[in-house]
Symmetry: C2
Subunit: 127 residues, 2 copies
């Protein structure tokens, strides 16, 4: 079996909500690409049991409710949200809000990049 899986989603500026865990057979994260239409909010406040979330705002404006605070969101905002945080998110009345949300188990990462990566054999056509 190949050591990877690839899916082609097409134009990410026009997608609805897509969750990738099952389609990519992920084992360390859940990754979703989300769009809230203008004026629309997630209809509930929630927290998590185990998972830290990372939000990456791709386009649009909105509001992030976090433990009673409300943060104005815009393109290029990135957030870490701890499992216990009570959260909700809403698109501004005048723009849809597109964002990536990553769930991973809090405190599960032991090492990364230079400490996890290792040089490997292989010669791409351009080398």
């Amino acid at each position: 079996m190949a050591n990877y899986k690839r899916i082609t989603l097409g134009d990410i500026k026009t997608l609805g909500r897509i969750t990738l865990h099952n389609d990519l057979a992920l084992t360390g994260s859940e990754v979703s690409i989300n769009e809230l239409p203008a004026g629309v909010a997630v209809p509930f406040v929630h927290a998590h049991q185990q998972n830290e979330e990372v939000y990456l705002i791709l386009s649009g404006k909105g509001l992030f409710y976090l433990d009673g605070e409300e943060l104005a969101l815009c393109e290029g905002d990135v957030l870490r949200v701890d499992p216990v945080a009570k959260r909700c998110i809403k698109a501004d009345a005048g723009s849809s809000l597109r964002f990536v949300c990553i769930q991973s188990k809090a405190n599960s990462l032991n090492q990364f990049t230079e400490t996890d990566g290792v040089p490997a054999e292989g010669t791409p056509s351009w080398m």
Copy 2:
């Protein structure tokens, strides 16, 4: 201490490479936003010891070397890459390649979304 951290990166269509682990104090993942200029490749082939990677191509075209295969990449491609896979990535001569790369520990996710999320108290201003 707040149960979240937020950073504003600005226009993600013009960023260089940004790594978020340290700035967001992430504990379950490393998330980077990357840009390879037209014609440029990561200058080495690498694998990982523990971490699964997810790639999300935001814009541009390129090539992904994976264990001797080469996949043509375009906007909206998403890939899971297992730790052991020997990988390299290159932007096409005619376009820069912008992508998100997520590292998380393979097999670390126990549950997600409906099985990890729990309803929480709180009343955003719009509810």
